[in-house]
Symmetry: C2
Subunit: 208 residues, 2 copies
DNA sequence: ATCATATTGTTACTATTTTCACAATAACCA
DNA sequence: TGGTTATTGTGAAAATAGTAACAATATGAT
């Protein structure tokens, strides 16, 4: 079982590139085409596929539609992925208004907030009171949540939603949440992303 | 010169943890304390420090204030980091309204948009017309930009701002931008982040 | 039908990253 | 003061990730 995060990210990139190639009318693809479109190497592409038992045709490359089917299945794109957002503030609202997730088969079913002023049951993605989140998760069988609450509220929120059945959290609050048994917590820490970028820009500047 | 991105991310985490420890009244810290607070190992902490020539005291651990000074210097936190945002839509606005960057010494000086309706020279972070971006970058000596424009606009936007002196871009558009000589492009691809999380949640579910 | 060629799939190799282990030594204690 | 102990700093080992090489083979050309 593959636990290499970068490898899975590459699979997403291959998938995206394949849709583009398909839209351009291509029916098959070679490992080096695909490598070019995602900025990788042909070896890496074949190695990645090999890890998942994906095979093509000697001299014939890979048939795009079959490849897409396999990648989509690995990535869970053969079923609609239901997601909720906790915290309907700046980031939470931006995510809920974003149309890009739907064409990726990711549907945000609702947002939840403690601030009564944020509640709106009639918006495209309804914003509901936090008290309803547990029932909602259970009723809809939701596994994935995006956490966009202030950092002081994050730990408690995670415990609440994992208690109700959430198995994966994408956390935007800039702190390390305590591991929860049976739940994967991934972080999007934009402060750290920027700090990282700044470091590498400075390093480059020093070389010259 | 260290090019290991994860290592630099860990430095950011150490730094953040050290501020928390300092706020709690601690003056010195041991590698295993620090490891605990960031979810790493004592060996990893000492190795990371060793790579940057940071040393502590045998049996005495590390003095937090000195350590912070060194980490801050490595991470470029000893000077204000000026940033601009291209695209004042949902994500761009959320970022510009976010107060969290300032306490990290990161200041968003302005946003730029092609849509005249978005322009607002009087908001806390002024939103200016895109035509002014080149002059602004040069006048203010800006090196870092956050790109929050629709994907079709992203490539052209990058070329424009790198031409004016931008050396690092944090790109939110879900596509691979062509490398630009002398500029580092890091991506925050939230579709892929979610896809990744979904994969690992599914894998966990299958194990059981 | 045969041959030359292009491309895969996998194994072997290399590089990078993390972990381990322990000598060196500063701090503390009796 | 001398001995004991806790902790660092680092080089060696292990684990992980990525690259290269090439045998196997399907395809298309003649
Ligand atoms: N906005 C950004 O650009 C940005 C950038 C980096 C990190 N972040 C992080 O993302 C998180 C959200 O940021 P934001 O700017 O959207 O903040 P925000 O204040 O705009 O929104 C937070 C929302 O969460 C709600 N909330 C508070 N406690 C809650 C709880 N227990 N349960 C449910 N909802 C709750 C609030 O009512 C508010 O609507 C924060 O942790 C912030 O540090 C934001
Ligand atoms: N909103 C999200 O939650 C979200 C999630 C994932 C990815 N993204 C990506 O982030 C980017 C921005 O998303 P958004 O939701 O903020 O979009 P948005 O449409 O709300 O905002 C985009 C803004 O960019 C401006 N713009 C267009 N072309 C421009 C140009 N050439 N120069 C300057 N400004 C220009 C538009 O006028 C608009 O104000 C997109 O690439 C999107 O795919 C957004």
């Amino acid at each position: 079982m593959i636990t290499n995060k970068n490898c899975i990210i590459r699979l997403s990139r291959y998938k995206n590139a394949l849709y583009r190639l398909q839209a351009l009318g291509f029916v098959k693809v070679f490992s080096d085409n695909l490598a070019d479109s995602v900025g990788s190497t042909a070896s890496q592409v074949r190695k990645d596929f090999s890890l998942f038992g994906i095979s093509g045709n000697k001299k014939g490359g890979y048939q795009i539609d079959i490849l897409l089917e396999k990648l989509n299945s690995i990535l869970g794109k053969d079923q609609l992925q239901k997601v909720i957002v906790i915290g309907a503030g700046h980031i939470g609202s931006a995510l809920m208004r974003y149309r890009g997730f739907e064409k990726e088969g990711i549907k945000i079913l609702g947002g939840f907030d403690i601030d009564p002023a944020k509640i709106n049951r009639n918006s495209v993605v309804p914003i509901l009171p936090l008290e309803e989140v547990k029932a909602f998760i259970k009723a809809q069988g939701i596994k994935i949540a995006i956490l966009a609450v202030p950092d002081i509220a994050a730990q408690q929120a995670v415990e609440m939603i994992t208690g109700a059945g959430i198995k994966g959290v994408l956390n935007f609050a800039p702190l390390r949440l305590k591991d929860v048994e049976g739940c994967i917590i991934n972080n999007v820490n934009l402060e750290i992303e920027l700090e990282n970028l700044i470091y590498f820009v400075n390093v480059e500047a020093k070389i010259k």
